[in-house]
């Protein structure tokens, strides 16, 4: 049985108190790894205080694309121990792990000692002192790079890019620090080394899920964003506030989430594809506005970067527990779109697709992301430049003497939508139930007709093969979504090495349901495992409630905030494959 990845990857945790520079070092480390031809995934862990306190940079590097954290860390480097015990659950170590620490920082906390990991000393502080302007984080950076096999060349190149122009002295001190760290580490052994990188034949990107969502939005045609900051969605907004004006768009910081969603609806009514991003508490505030989008058939996209809930929960950690509110949170019968990104890079595509769907279908689309995707940085292959750009079915003015029917009961449920300024198509967009012309109506026939129309347009649309990511074949079907996809993919690969074959089905289109497509994908599956990160098993319940599954699924479901690890799923697959 394969117990650890062995997929040519190395996982490293760099820890220290706020200001020690572990995030800076890890970012440079990632850039250098990319320069050397490796792929990587970099998650950051900190408390709710954001700045100050303690911080851990969690980096996994490998020769192939990385979409999941590993079960254990190969190296844990602590610049100091202040508050680092908090990461014990997040940075699981084994007896094969290496702990690198500065003896001047004091004793290794018991929680790490008892893992059986090998503990070695590196005099980061002293080595830094020997260099004018030297800093321990650069010693750490050089040491880790040396240990796992990243050459100094790419490292100094990265330092040059980020420091040379600004401060030559800082650049020189950093290079000297990196070299000193590398030299000191050369005397240490016991670390897992990276396999040689494959030929760097394709261009790579580095992106976080949140920036990717922002880019995807603009690619999809978004030119308006109104939003209120909330962790862990804020970087989507930071990206859009800078990028939207460059492409002729508008970004507004709203006074709250109620204003955000409703400003977006106003802008969208005006003809601009609009987006906002939020997390659970903000989404809760937006649900009334989303209902208006559904009833008035106004396109709008909301990226929900899920965190741990309920209430303010744990703002900086991951969970998949907003599924219920995303799918069922609106009042009334309110069919709308829910799509989910399944990797850091996929945040780009799924958000772009979400904009395209919302604009095509004139309704609300929730793009589900989560803290693990949104705030992680990955090295990915250059994403395809897909052609999905949102386009509404345009209205034409009615003939003289005829009234314009904004909510015309068309065969496919999509009614032509005018843009204000267009003569002859004046109408009132209304959240009240209405007739085909938009006049408020409390009549049963109008209500039923409009409800049918809103459902029909979602059901009849051709979502192509983007409704899910499907990989592999096997007797077991693993159905999952979001950030769990990467862990499931790796678990399936490990199980295959153990002779257990499973198929991965990661739903991108959560709502509306695709019963025929899922039935087709499940053909031949003897067992189903549903993997998710929710205490209540929200996704399992959703699948069981909305789909006729051929067999009763097993559920692998647990709460956040710890990320789903491949080993958990792998162990279950092995027991299912017996």
């Amino acid at each position: 049985m394969t117990t650890s990845s062995g997929f040519g990857s190395v996982s490293i945790a760099m820890c220290g108190s706020g200001g020690a520079g572990v995030m800076t070092a890890a970012n440079m480390f990632l850039d250098a790894a990319a320069e050397a031809g490796y792929y990587a995934l970099f998650g950051r862990s900190s408390g709710p205080q954001i700045r100050g306190g303690e911080a851990a940079a969690l980096v996994r590097l490998g020769v192939d694309p990385i979409t999941s954290v590993d079960d254990t860390f190969d190296i844990m480097l602590a610049i100091d121990w202040q508050g680092v015990q908090r990461f014990a659950a997040e940075v699981p170590l084994s007896k094969n792990s290496l702990v690198i620490c500065d003896p001047s920082a004091g004793d290794v906390p018991e929680v790490y000692v008892k893992t059986g990991a090998k503990i070695v000393h590196l005099h980061m502080k002293d080595l830094a002192k020997e260099i004018p302007g030297g800093r321990p984080n650069m010693i750490a950076l050089g040491a880790v790079a040396e240990l796992i096999g990243i050459p100094v060349g790419p490292l100094t190149e990265v330092l040059g890019k980020s420091l040379k122009k600004k401060r030559a002295d800082a650049y020189e001190a950093s290079v000297a620090g990196v070299k000193a760290g590398a030299a000191a580490a050369a005397t240490l052994d016991g670390a897992k080394r990276l396999a040689p990188a494959k030929a760097k034949d394709v261009k790579r990107w580095t992106v976080t899920g949140n920036y990717g969502a922002g880019l995807g939005a603009i690619r999809g045609g978004v030119r308006f964003c109104a939003a209120y900051p909330i962790t862990p969605a804020t970087e989507v907004l930071e990206y859009l506030s800078g990028a939207l004006p460059k492409v002729g768009g508008v970004f507004v910081q709203a006074e709250d989430e109620l204003a955000s969603i409703n400003m977006c609806l106003g802008a969208s009514y005006g003809g601009e594809a609009s987006i906002t991003a939020t997390a659970g508490p903000g989404l809760a505030l937006m649900t009334e506005g989303l209902g208006l989008a559904v009833a008035s058939e106004t396109p709008v996209v909301v990226v929900d970067v899920q965190r741990v809930g309920p209430s303010t929960g744990i703002a900086t950690k991951c969970e998949q527990s907003d599924l219920n509110i995303a799918v069922y949170g609106l009042h009334g019968d309110a069919p709308h779109l829910v799509v989910a990104a399944n990797s850091v890079g996929d945040c780009i595509f799924t958000t772009q697709w979400g904009v395209y769907l919302a604009e095509s279908l004139q309704t609300a689309c929730l793009v589900m992301s989560d803290q693990a995707l949104g705030q992680s940085r990955a090295i990915i292959d250059v994403p395809a430049d897909v052609a999905f750009v949102g386009k509404r079915l345009a209205a034409v003015a009615p003939a003289e003497g005829e009234v314009f029917k904004r909510y015309a009961n068309t065969a496919n449920g999509i009614s032509p939508m005018p843009v204000p300024g267009q003569p002859g198509c004046q109408y009132t967009s209304d959240g009240l139930e209405h007739t085909e012309t938009g006049t408020p109506s409390s009549q049963a026939a109008d209500h039923t007709m409009q409800l049918d129309k809103r459902q029909r347009k979602l059901d009849q649309f051709d979502y192509g093969n983007h409704w899910a990511t499907i990989e592999g074949e096997g007797d077991i079907a693993v159905i999952t979504w979001g950030a769990c996809t990467g862990a499931a993919r790796e678990a399936i690969a490990r199980a295959k090495a153990d002779g257990v074959n499973a198929k991965l089905i990661s739903l991108r289109l959560i709502s509306p349901t695709r019963p025929k497509h899922l039935a087709e994908a499940l053909k031949g599956a003897k067992k189903i495992l549903v993997v998710e990160q929710s205490h209540q098993g929200q996704f399992t319940r959703y699948l069981r409630g909305e789909y006729d599954l051929p067999v009763k699924p097993e559920s692998l479901s647990r709460s956040g905030p710890l990320p789903m690890r491949p080993g958990e799923i792998h162990a279950r697959l092995l027991s299912m494959g017996k």
């Binding site: 990107w205 109620l258 009334e288």
Partner: protein
């Protein structure tokens, strides 16, 4: 479509729709609707380049009664919707309309920030100091001792009425006026001035609800047009508003803060954005 030619001029009637208002007989809002459509026509606007946005309540039904582009949105959010529309489409005339409950209670926060933000739109609040659509509960502008409501405690709410004009001033609004539905021509003039004003303009229009507050019939004898020069001095405006008895009509303050928002101008192609991510 001869009526849509850009050279055509429009009368107030062209701005009215065929939908029959749900308002009670004698409601002040009929006259406000007429003042709005008259102001649109007087300004030479075109129905398809004009929009009326509202929230929820009796007065918020107004978009359906106009032949403009309109949004009848949700309770309290009209200003958010209207600001989004105007920021996305600076070429449109945007009028946001609603009542005292919609604007100052559930929508209070948006009111403050719309005054601060100063997006170029006109906000009209038809104030009757009562919730009409839900049958006569006290609103934020209701007198503290008014207790003729099933939901008001004996002796009234005891809460100081909201002072929308003073609050607008304190929040940064640059055009503050009061109108009276009993003077539709004067109100139409104030609305036209408000629309002309660059930036956020706020017009409170006293509009009686004689169904739940029959005593408001008396407003025709108490409302007065002050006919004073609008001050540009916020300190003078503050004195004027804080000593105001609620019955003075006219433009009471006109500041000159520039309107919010930059010109929309693309400087990059979408594909240029990729560079930030390329290694």
């Amino acid at each position: 479509m001869s009526s849509c030619e850009s050279s055509a001029t429009y009368t107030a009637k062209d701005f009215k729709s065929d939908v029959k208002p749900v308002w009670c007989p004698g409601c002040g809002d009929y006259a406000v609707l007429s003042s709005i459509t008259k102001a649109f026509a007087d300004l030479g606007l075109k129905p398809h380049e004009t929009s009326v946005v509202s929230g929820i309540g009796c007065s918020s039904r107004i978009p359906a009664y106009t032949n403009t582009y309109g949004i009848h949105s949700i309770h309290g959010r009209a200003l958010a919707v209207g600001q989004g529309l105007k920021l996305a489409r600076p070429d449109l005339t945007v009028l946001v309309a609603g009542g005292d409950g919609d604007g100052f209670s559930i929508g209070g926060n948006h009111f403050l920030h719309a005054c601060r933000r100063n997006v170029d739109l006109t906000y009209i609040v038809m104030d009757n100091r009562v919730y009409g659509m839900t049958k006569g509960q006290p609103s934020p502008t209701t007198e503290s001792d008014w207790d003729a409501s099933a939901m008001a405690p004996p002796g009234g709410t005891g809460m100081t009425p909201f002072h929308p004009l003073a609050i607008a001033l304190a929040s940064g609004a640059n055009f503050i006026a009061r109108g009276f539905s009993g003077d539709p021509n004067g109100t139409a003039q104030v609305i036209a001035e408000a629309i002309r004003h660059p930036g956020f303009s706020f017009v409170a229009i006293m509009s009686p609800c004689i169904t739940f507050r029959e005593e408001q019939r008396e407003w025709k004898n108490t409302m007065r047009n002050v006919n004073i020069e609008p001050t540009t001095d916020p300190a003078q405006a503050a004195r004027r508003l804080m000593t105001d008895d609620g019955y003075n009509c006219g433009i009471l303050y006109r500041g000159n803060r520039p309107a919010y928002g930059k010109e929309k101008k693309a400087t990059n192609a979408v594909s240029d954005l990729d560079r930030e991510f390329t290694l």
